[in-house]
Symmetry: none
Subunit: 222 residues, 4 copies
DNA sequence: TATGAATGAGGATTCATTCAT
DNA sequence: TATGAATGAATCCTCATTCAT
């Protein structure tokens, strides 16, 4: 009889069973997050359609609500997830040795390369710049995101402060300068999202990006 | 003198009457545009609610459609209106005399001051950066806006080219450098739109803005 | 001085003045009716747009309401106006001499020719057939129109009754037969309004129309 | 026997479950179609209100859109549904044996009886006559409907051609005559939709209908 | 009297969220 | 647990009618 037959033969311990189930659940969560990222980043928060997210994730619409409380929470999770990955790698890159200029260049290169390979991830930076578009994000969402942002600037500020200390860079407010650098880098990258802006560029984005960094560094040299 | 004009009565010429009506209509159009700007810029295109626009303008919902064909057209008009005013003043400021550095500073100061006094107007620059959000705008709209953008860069490029020619600035691609400068200025200003970004700044925006310009100029000096 | 100058020289009696004004008003009324007919007959009552009617009539929208109380009343007037003209001519044609068959043919030919030259007028017959489309006509409208319809059938019934009396036609209920004839004629004509129906016809409408009349007459001959 | 089936319990196979759900869905679809037919046929396409359709079907407004893409599609489905049923039965009736006259009478009787029992279904014939009212139907819709129309005429033309061949009917263009017959039958039936037309009739519709068919047949006899 | 600007009720459509199975 | 059908609030847009000038 069906009810007595072991569903399949392997003798699985109860703990094993639980673990598998948890893994499966985690995998589905990931799948949903990926689908959501694609849709959110393409259409923006308001215009994004959960029907499409569900379809891309290969689950029913109702299932989304078993993993995330609302559209807003799903969005937040997408942003947080992407940011976490980015931050870790940026830390690694920044912590190497060399002159401040070299390290700034290295981080910049990492930033650019990372963008080349993970354009979608960078939408998080767009999102924080443009929270006004979104308009109705639940309170608390941005706090989470802004933390990531602060940490990135902090990394740059650390390098710059060291450069100043070593007299490699001229005297300045390290954090402020880091903020400017970060702003410039982001702004240039975001240029790519606009057909108009792209059409106004007369050199490759990479060239423009590197030239901007060089300009910055030349401006900072003691 | 105005006071001697016929106080009132039937002696108003028909032309006068027509003029008054046209004025009134124009005034209402302005009122709608202002209300629309407020709502669009606060909530973004998608989330903006025409009901609120109508209410703020003190007119019925249907009235909006006597002045603008659709939500999209209303948005476009808001953007175009703002841009035109800005461009004219920027031209005036840039065309004065002085060293390239001075002129860059002057334009930058104009830019910043104009923003201080007309924050809303600057949304047009945001709009062009984020055309992807808007998406459904009628074709040809962005051409109009992107022209403004190009003209602004052109103004800066003209000054920079002159500076290079006079050996005030080091050799460089004037247009590319202008594009970077323009990008930086815009990005810093737009910082203000984000509570997150604002909270990360440790000096006033004005200080940050001026320091960024100085950094840029120092990087460019021969 | 302007106030004493006769607006224009002709010494017009007050009565003359009144008459002219009345004529002008009547002319405008006609113009509105014509514009309304065009629009109503093309789009149907529901879909017809008074903006377009006003524009075609060359008057302001508000003016329509000085001549007609509502959209519905305007529609009624259009129908009544067209019907009156048609009925008068049909009477004339029917009242000639000849055999019943000849007179039936004559009226049929008149009907067809009148349709050829005044297709729009015939919408009135469509309207009465399809009052359900319109749905919300004010009560009383159709009574007026149905009277015309009845009179047309009456004319045909008169001819047929005479034909029966003279043993030209076989015994039958004259009114009933007239109703059938009238229905057939209208239905064939209305065929033209439908692209589908038109495409199904394999001879000209005129041929089909005449053949149907012949079929009817052959069926009626004693 | 149904009564011996497991009363209920957890022993329902998944397939059974799926089937039930599909059935329920189908039932709801039918319910919506019925509600829609009622409203569309009473008020016409333009004036019909989907709020009322939803209410009559006992569902929320949004639910309509789970079953039909738009008001127009819902309308089309209503028409198509009705037409398909009719066509099948007409075929059956026409394919019996007997003289051409008998078969024409038989089809006519079927037509009339079918109308008596399914008045709403006949709106499809009205729809094709009045496609101009509808206007905004998605392309390709009318093709579907017009095909039905053509097939009905074809059936009649087949009978008539046979009658001519057997010298039961006089020489004529079978298709043209069929078209006339079809037009007459429809026009008479549609008479019922108009209170005006109904009030003008002095015999029952059935009598008028039969008399018209007789008149037609007498006109066709060799 | 004629105008045309203003009105606002009404209607189609979308989509985040709920919940019975 | 996963499903997906059902929901209904929300929103853009239309247009007959009114009314101040």
């Amino acid at each position: 009889m069906k009810t007595t037959a072991p569903p399949n033969g392997d003798s699985i311990s109860p703990g094993e069973n639980v673990r598998r189930r948890a893994e499966k659940k985690q995998a589905l969560r990931q799948k949903i997050l990926e689908a959501a990222r694609e849709v959110f980043f393409r259409d923006g928060f308001m215009a994004a359609n959960l029907d499409e997210v569900a379809q891309k994730a290969g689950v029913a619409k109702g299932t989304l609500y078993r993993y995330f409380e609302s559209k807003a929470e799903l969005y937040v999770e997408v942003l947080a997830h992407n940011g976490e990955i980015f931050k870790l790698r940026m830390y690694e890159t920044a912590s190497g040795s060399g002159s401040a200029s070299d390290r700034i260049r290295r981080v910049s290169t990492f930033y650019f390369d990372h963008w080349v390979r993970n354009r979608d991830y960078f939408q998080i930076f767009w999102a924080i710049e443009n929270q006004s578009v979104i308009g109705e994000l639940p309170p608390g969402v941005l706090g989470q995101v802004s933390e990531l942002w602060a940490e990135c600037i902090e990394i740059l500020a650390g390098i710059i402060a060291e450069g100043i200390e070593r007299n490699e860079f001229r005297e300045a407010d390290a954090w402020e300068v880091a903020n400017i650098l970060w702003t410039v880098a982001n702004a240039l990258i975001q240029t790519e999202k606009s057909a108009t802006r792209r059409s106004l560029r007369r050199v490759s984005l990479e060239t423009a990006f590197n030239d901007a960094i060089s300009l910055f560094l030349r401006g900072m040299l003691a």
